[in-house]
Structures are given as C-alpha cells and as structure tokens.
C-alpha cells in the first residue's frame, strides 16, 4: 500500500537526513520504525505526510507511492485526502480549542460526510473519555488524554494509513500499554499503521514488520518478531540482560562502538 524507494531527504543544501530508504507497508500491516534520536524517524514521517517543507526540508531523490500513486510531490492536505494521516510528535493538539473542535478540525480532510460520520462513531467507541471532555479546552487534558485526542483527531478523516510519531513519548507506563492496545485495535479495524517509536519493546509487540534506522539509513529490516529476537536489537534497544560481569562489559564495549552520533538536524 505504501512503498518508499530510494528516498533521500535533505534539510537545506548540505544536511542529508535520510538516504537510500526502501520500505513497504501492506494494506493491513503495522510497520515499526525504530532508532535513536536523530536517526531520521520523524523526517521519514514528514516526507510521507508532505510536511518536510514546513521544516525546511525536501525530497532530494527517490519516490513515495501510496496505492501506486506518487505522493511525494503533493501538499499535506492532498495526501490526507488520499487516505494517509499523521499524528505528529508531541501530539500538537489545538490547545486553545475544545476537544470537540479538535475532532471537527480532524474531520475537515474527510473525503465525504459519510466517511466523517463513520469515523466519528469509531472515535467515540475507541476513546469514550473524549466524549466526556468534549467541551474542555484540549490544552487542559492530561498527556495521555491529549495523545488519545491526537489519534482520535487523525482518525476523523477515515484514513487507510495512520502514521504515528512517538505516541508513547512522555507517558506513564500504564498509559503506554493503553496506547499500544489502541493501536492494535485501530489496526484490527483495517487501518494500516506506521509506528515510529523509541520504545522498541512496545513497538515490536504491536508491529508485524520493523525497520531500524541509524543515521539516516535502514540498518535492519524484517519481521518484528525476528528483530525482537535479534541480538543487535536486544542490545541496543531492548536492554538485554547480562548474565555475567564479562558479558556486561562486552556489551558495554559493543554499545560504545555502536554509539550513534548526535546529528545536527532535528530528527
């Protein structure tokens, strides 16, 4: 459904944030995108959702197709109308507007009124708390509730592919579990998902395929279960448990060798 080929993204003239990225998401797939700070995860989502330009970036090479149609030259509003909707990092709810108005804003990109009505029912079912808080200003919700609102708002246009940028960031562990269940449910209802996460444990549980980005390139790719079992991912992202002092030291040495460089771009 989504296919990315040879994607290269630059910020300004000289900073290359992504290089030679290839990835695919099937119609009912959940793809986890893992990687540290500055690996290019958010840049990837910006490229797919068409918001690179707002950050001074541009697609320098390669292409992004959704249902066999190129979307890398469309503006964000058109991409939403094709059925690809992103939940940006840091939630970015409209803080001064009410919960109800946030959801309404989310529905403005729906292809038809029927889609919007169906989406509204789906959001009410997934997030009963949003109905309780309908008239409250979104800025006054808790972090977890804001994340639910951000996801609910994105679902209001009835997307076929949902892009989530670090939905677990800054949330209590219990809330992270809840968001993971919700992502699973959204997927079960037939929406494909791209889940960008630093919380690899959570992401690999929900996803069926995964890629690991390092400094703008795909370092590993494969079925989520396989990646979860791989030593590299265990060591770098899942905090593998050392069984002896020597092993711990060896792992520390490995981690030092594989330390990711801090990047200059906001990734």
């Amino acid at each position: 459904m989504l296919s990315v080929r040879g994607l290269e993204v630059r910020y300004g003239r000289s900073v290359t944030a992504l290089e030679e990225i290839d990835l695919d998401v099937g119609p009912d797939g959940v793809l986890a995108v893992l990687g540290g700070n500055g690996a290019g995860k958010s840049t990837l989502l910006r490229a797919v959702s068409g918001t690179l330009r707002l950050h001074g970036g541009a697609v320098a090479a390669g292409e992004i197709r959704f249902r066999d149609e190129r979307i890398d030259r469309l503006d964000p509003a058109e991409i939403v109308r094709r059925g690809v909707v992103a939940v940006p990092e840091g939630r970015q709810v409209f803080a001064r507007m009410t919960v109800e108005e946030n959801l309404r804003a989310g529905g403005l990109g729906a292809r038809s009124a029927a889609v919007r009505t169906a989406a509204r029912a789906r959001v009410a079912e997934l997030f009963p708390v949003l109905a309780e808080r309908a008239t409250q200003r979104a800025g006054l919700l808790s972090g977890g509730e804001q994340q639910m609102l951000a996801i609910g708002r994105a679902l209001m246009s009835g997307p076929d592919l949902l892009l989530l940028d670090e939905p677990s960031l800054g949330l209590a562990p219990q809330m992270v579990g809840r968001i993971a269940r919700i992502v699973g449910e959204i997927h079960a209802q037939g929406t494909a998902v791209v889940l960008v996460e630093q919380n690899a444990t959570m992401a690999l549980e929900v996803a069926d395929t995964a890629v690991v980005l390092e400094v703008g390139r795909v370092a590993l790719a494969g079925p989520a279960a396989e990646l979860a079992a791989s030593d590299d991912v265990q060591r770098l992202y899942l905090g593998g448990h050392a069984e002896s002092e020597e092993q711990a030291e060896a792992e520390a040495a490995f981690a030092r060798q594989h330390r990711r460089t801090l990047s200059r771009w906001a990734g």
Binding site: S49, G50, T51, L54, D75, P76, A77, V80, R81, V85, A86, V87, P88, G90, Q92, V93, F94, A95, R96, M97, E101, R104, A105, G106, L108, G109, A110, G139, L140, L141, G143, Q146, R153, A154, M156, S157, G170
Partner: protein, 292 residues
C-alpha cells in the same frame, strides 16, 4: 449628563468603524502572521470606487462595488505578493505591505486631485434628535452595521468549517496541514474578508459626521488609528480587536470634548501605551498556553 451620553453614543459609533478595521488586521495576522500595513490603502481603494461610480450606479450599487473591490484588492496582495514570497520572514512581508500602501495611497490621492469628496450620502450630515440628545446618523448607522457584521463574523468564526480551520491553522500550522486543512484557501478567505470589512468601514469614515473631511490622505490617517485598536486589544485576538476599537472610539470622543480636539489623537496612543505597560500582549492577546 446629556452631553456625556451623546459622546458615548457617538464614540461607540466611531469605535464600531475602528473595530471593523482592527478585526481585519487581526484576521490577516492570525491567518498569515503578517501585520498588514496596507490596510489603509484598502480603505482608500474601496472609498475611491464609491466616489468614482456613485453617479453612474447610484450610492447602493457603488457601495457594493467599493466593498467588493477592497476585498479583491486584499486578495491580490495576498496572492501576488505575500503568497509568492513564501518562506520570507514575516517582518519582510510587513515591509512589503508598507510598499503597497505607499503606491496605492499616492495613486488614489493623485486621482482624486483637488477633490475630497464625502461618500456617505444616505445618512451623512443629518443628525437625529431624540430625548434631548443629538446623535450623528452616520455613527448610529455605523454602530448598527458594525454590531451586525461583528456578530455574524463571530458566529462564522465559532461554528463554521472555515472558522474551525482558521483557528486550527492560527494555532498550529503543521498540525492543521496534517488534518487536511487547505491552508491556501483559509488564508485567501481571511484576506478577502478583511478587505471587505475595510470596504465597509470607509463608507462611514469619509463623511461629514465622522471626521468632517472627505476621502483623501486624511482618511488614510484615520485608518491608522485602527492599529492601536488592534494592538491594545491583543493582535491575535478577534474579541480584542472589537473591544480595542470601541476603547479607541470612546477615548477619541471623550478626550476631544473634555480635553481638546488636538489632544484626542494622541490620547488614543497614550491609552494604548498605558495598557501595554500593564498587559504587554494587549487586553486579550494570548501568551503561551500549553501543557506538555
């Protein structure tokens, strides 16, 4: 007491006109983050077309044409200049609008030549007497028209899809784009609307009652009074623009009577400064409100 009531009514009438102008500034500022210094020239474009066509079309037809022209002129500034300079710093864009303002104002003044025509035919220079009060008809009509338009605007802003899209975009451009909101349409509508409001305002400004002066450089100067109105209300607050307009209208009317006519123009700016000392972002301007 009667004088006071009279002043308040007339002041509110003037205030309604300033409110229409200030609301225009604020709408444009919210949509594009640009302070539109060309607002005064939109006023002149609308006024000039009323003057130029009212013999041929009759006053009502000319008034409609004036309003539409001011709206179209605003849209042209946005499409041809502001939009094409995308990526430019908003301060450069503000300077750009100053350039537009100078060109348009000089051209309109040149075309007017020695004329300084009054353009408020149906209501101008016919004061109403009731209950011992003398009220300028222009100010009264302005107050009613202002109240109707401002109420209509707030209903649209609060409840329509455009209003939701506009507020969403004003708050977070990226998130709004990610919701499928077409920023270019929202922005175009904002400029159109602001231009139309300027076109309505000038129908009351170049009158015997309002300023005692006809259309000309003076009208442009009056339009500039809407700046302090928008700023003291809070440049990003639509409600603030309306309150600011009324405060400015009242300040002008009361200080002209109780202090002196000459003082009334500076009084407006004094009030603005005093308000800004205590509330730096204006009466209703927003400081950052977020919970992370």
């Amino acid at each position: 007491m009667n004088t006071f009531l009279q002043l308040v009514l007339n002041g509110l009438g003037k205030g309604a006109v300033y409110a229409l102008l200030a609301l225009g500034f604020v709408i444009i500022f919210k949509a594009t983050e640009v302070v539109n210094f060309a607002h005064g020239s939109l006023v002149l474009i609308g006024g000039y077309l009323v003057y130029a066509t009212k013999d041929a079309l009759g006053w009502p037809g000319a008034a409609v044409l004036g309003i539409v022209s001011a709206a179209v002129a605003a849209l042209l500034i946005e499409r041809l200049l502001v939009r094409n300079a995308r990526g430019a710093d908003v301060n450069s864009l503000a300077l750009l609008t100053i350039g537009v303002d100078v060109i348009v104002t000089e051209e309109v003044v040149r075309r007017l030549g020695n004329d300084i025509p009054f353009i408020g035919d149906p209501y101008d220079a016919a004061p109403i007497q009731f209950a011992g009060l003398t009220v300028f008809r222009t100010q009264l009509v302005a107050l009613i028209v202002g109240a109707v338009l401002i109420t209509a605007f707030f209903l649209v802003f609060r409840f329509s899809n455009w209003g939701v899209a506009m507020r969403a975009q004003a708050e977070n451009k990226e998130a709004a784009a990610l919701m499928g909101i077409r920023s270019s349409r929202v922005t175009a509508t904002a400029w159109l609307l602001a231009g139309a409001l300027a076109g309505v305002a000038v129908l009351f400004m170049a009158t015997q009652d309002f300023s005692g002066a006809g259309l000309g450089r003076g009208t442009h100067a009056i339009a500039l009074i809407a700046f302090p109105a928008a700023i003291l209300g809070g440049l990003d607050s639509t409600a603030g623009a309306v309150v600011g307009g009324l405060v400015v209208g009242l300040t002008e009317a009361l200080s002209a009577q109780y202090v002196s006519f000459e003082f009334s123009k500076s009084a407006v700016f004094l009030v603005m400064l005093v308000i800004l000392v205590f509330r730096p972002s204006g009466l209703f301007g927003t400081r950052e409100l977020s919970r992370v």
